[in-house]
């Protein structure tokens, strides 16, 4: 089982991003996804910065991919996507625009979880387009994944196994809305929330998290105790999605758990929110099947 580090989903200040990836060089992760997947207005880092980070990670022995935006609306964003495919690195396609461009350029790609690959014929179409690994939709239960992997897919399977779950994307920026600002004059308010802006019910219960145009779960998916079954099924890679603190400990624990040298468990105080594995168990995604 390999470990990948998903793209940073939040808008972190430039220096924090640089510091973060400086640390990643020494972490036991095999694959790293870089770039902005949520909002094209977030430009603390330029393409050259990402390539520089990527080069250092490649030197450290990591496989490096560039992730595409997930919701592409403007022509300028489509143009940026084409340039993304010309950087000499493989990409993660998070939208069919990215699939289309990668296919036309003959560039192999990872199919992200938002491509809605729920069945074999859908996966086969994208294999023909150049997909060499795929990430199942977050809501796919283990039972369905098992059904898919019972026949060899011929490509790698990567499961989103840790972190707050990206659940929805909108034209509207909810972070700007929360501050009564129009999207076109957002003031980059999302930078104030390194793990997203809490959205609570009227009973004060933590419910969802706002990350610009993206809506996330409050809970962190955590499938670490399902490692044995993922292994048996033929899952190749687990994806860990970055959070602002204790990621170092989390990544190391996953690596140790895979190696069999530590319990398949994350310490509660490392997590920014309670764990959940409902989707995996074919339950509502917000539920946790056993208390950690």
């Amino acid at each position: 089982m390999r470990i990948s580090l998903g793209p940073v989903l939040y808008f972190w200040p430039r220096n924090e991003v640089l510091d973060f990836y400086q640390q990643v060089r020494d972490w036991p992760v095999d694959r790293v996804y870089l770039g902005e997947t949520v909002c094209s207005k977030r430009r603390e880092l330029r393409a050259d910065d990402w390539l520089e980070i990527g080069a250092a990670l490649i030197d450290a022995g990591k496989e490096v991919l560039l992730s595409s935006l997930t919701l592409i609306e403007a022509r300028s964003e489509a143009g940026a996507l084409k340039r993304l495919c010309d950087r000499g690195l493989q990409i993660e396609a998070n939208d069919y625009s990215a699939v289309s461009v990668a296919e036309e350029k003959g560039l192999a790609f990872v199919g992200g979880s938002s491509l809605n690959l729920y069945n074999r014929p859908a996966i086969d179409v994208l294999k023909r387009a150049g997909m060499f690994a795929w990430v199942p939709p977050l809501e796919m239960p283990a039972r369905q994944l098992q059904a898919l992997l019972s026949a060899d897919l011929g490509i790698e399977t990567e499961v989103f196994a840790f972190g707050r779950m990206p659940l929805a994307w909108s034209a509207r920026c909810f972070a700007a809305r929360a501050q009564n600002r129009p999207k076109d004059d957002c003031g980059f308010v999302c930078k104030a929330y390194p793990d997203g802006l809490a959205m609570k019910t009227q009973e004060g219960e933590d419910f969802l998290v706002i990350n610009g145009i993206q809506t996330q779960s409050h809970h962190c998916v955590n499938l670490i105790r399902h490692l044995p079954i993922m292994n048996r099924m033929g899952v190749n890679t687990v994806r860990l999605s970055p959070q602002s603190r204790d990621m170092n400990k989390i990544v190391h624990r996953w690596a140790e758990a895979i190696a069999g040298s530590a319990p398949m468990q994350l310490e509660r105080e490392w997590l920014i929110a309670p764990p959940a594995d409902g989707y995996w168990m074919e339950e509502p995604g917000m539920l946790e099947s056993v208390t950690a």
């Binding site: 919701l71 592409i72 939208d95 069919y96 296919e103 859908a122 994307w169 999207k183 802006l197 019910t201």
Partner: protein, 331 residues
């Protein structure tokens, strides 16, 4: 521009056809379509009747097979495609690349439309679906500003259909798992959002609470109008401030954009609402038929008639309408 209207039952289809719909879209009674609600939709026999009724009156029937096929149930979606061909549907509306691929191979002569559930927003994405499946038309998701729709219409390889009226999805369609996060059932795989089976209403003194699988979606004072707890349309707290953090209950209404949409070369406008009653479908179709006829007669002098707009507002969620993402200010 064609007027494409919804039908969740044969009486609704007849209402739509009688009131001037050019096209009616419908789905089977199962999870293969995105309005899989109890008591709604068509058996194959009913579809045959519906097609006959529509065709006899010069209208077309599109069949929505626009959810994503389950890993262990692909045959059900493929069978729905075969049935649509057998029953004489005029086009299929699909989102799943696997289902599109099957339809293109097995029924190359049956026109394929890309469902809004595929959320294709760019020339490049439309190229992909055109290249692989020869789609004739795409239904655009409700995330594009009107300027972006225009830009896309300028170089789209396929016909474009846009949403004109009805319930407003505020998330990119097909990219929203909020419902399954809370209830286990999502639009993508179950064809439902915030399903009624998980809704609970509770009275606490004068306050009415709506819950979805236990989560408090909203609280209503006696003078407030209580809306269905669609989970993105409740009131929540962000930083101590209670508000419709995502969106208020409201419906999309693009009547004022019709001349612009026509000038862009949009092929069809779509009315949402297969879950609505035949009376609703009749009233909305009647208003939109008038609007489209008016814009056809003289786009320069077109203005939505006040009476029609009042009818649409009355039939809207929370009696409010919006231009949604078509207007940058909404975003």
């Amino acid at each position: 521009m064609d007027l494409v209207c919804p039908a969740g039952s044969l009486p609704a289809l007849k209402s739509a056809v009688d009131e001037g719909a050019d096209v009616v879209y419908l789905g089977l009674k199962d999870a293969t379509n995105a309005r899989h609600f109890a008591g709604l939709n068509f058996t194959p026999k009913r579809i045959a009747e519906a097609v006959r009724y529509a065709h006899d009156r010069g209208a077309s029937v599109y069949m929505a097979i626009n959810t994503y096929a389950h890993a262990d149930g692909v045959e059900r979606w493929q069978s729905a495609v075969d049935q649509a061909a057998d029953l004489g549907a005029d086009a299929l509306i699909m989102a799943d690349t696997g289902v599109l691929d099957y339809a293109a191979r097995q029924h190359p002569d049956l026109p394929r439309h890309l469902s809004v559930q595929a959320s294709a927003t760019t020339r490049e994405a439309l190229d992909f679906y055109y290249r692989h499946f020869g789609i004739r038309r795409a239904v655009l998701p409700r995330v594009l500003a009107v300027q972006q729709v225009r830009a896309l219409a300028e170089d789209s390889p396929v016909e474009l259909e846009v949403f004109a009226f009805g319930s407003l999805c505020i998330m990119a369609e097909g990219r929203c798992q909020l419902s399954s996060y809370v209830t286990g059932q999502s639009p993508n795989t179950a064809g439902v959002c915030s399903p009624a089976s998980h809704v609970r209403w509770e009275e606490k003194g004068e306050i009415l609470e709506s819950r979805l699988n236990g989560k408090l979606i909203d609280r209503f004072q006696p003078q407030e109008r209580a809306g269905y707890p669609t989970l993105c349309k409740g009131r929540f707290y962000t930083e101590g401030h209670r508000h419709h953090a995502l969106e208020a209950p409201t419906s999309l209404n693009t009547a004022e954009l019709l001349p612009e949409l026509k000038a862009m070369g949009i092929s069809a406008v779509k009315i949402e609402g297969r879950q609505r009653s035949p009376a609703y479908v009749a009233a909305v179709t009647r208003v939109w038929r008038r609007l489209l006829d008016a814009v056809d007669r003289n786009p320069a002098r077109y203005q939505p008639d006040a009476e029609g707009q009042a009818t649409l507002s009355r039939l809207s969620e929370g009696s409010q309408t919006t231009l949604g993402a078509y207007a940058r200010t909404w975003q």
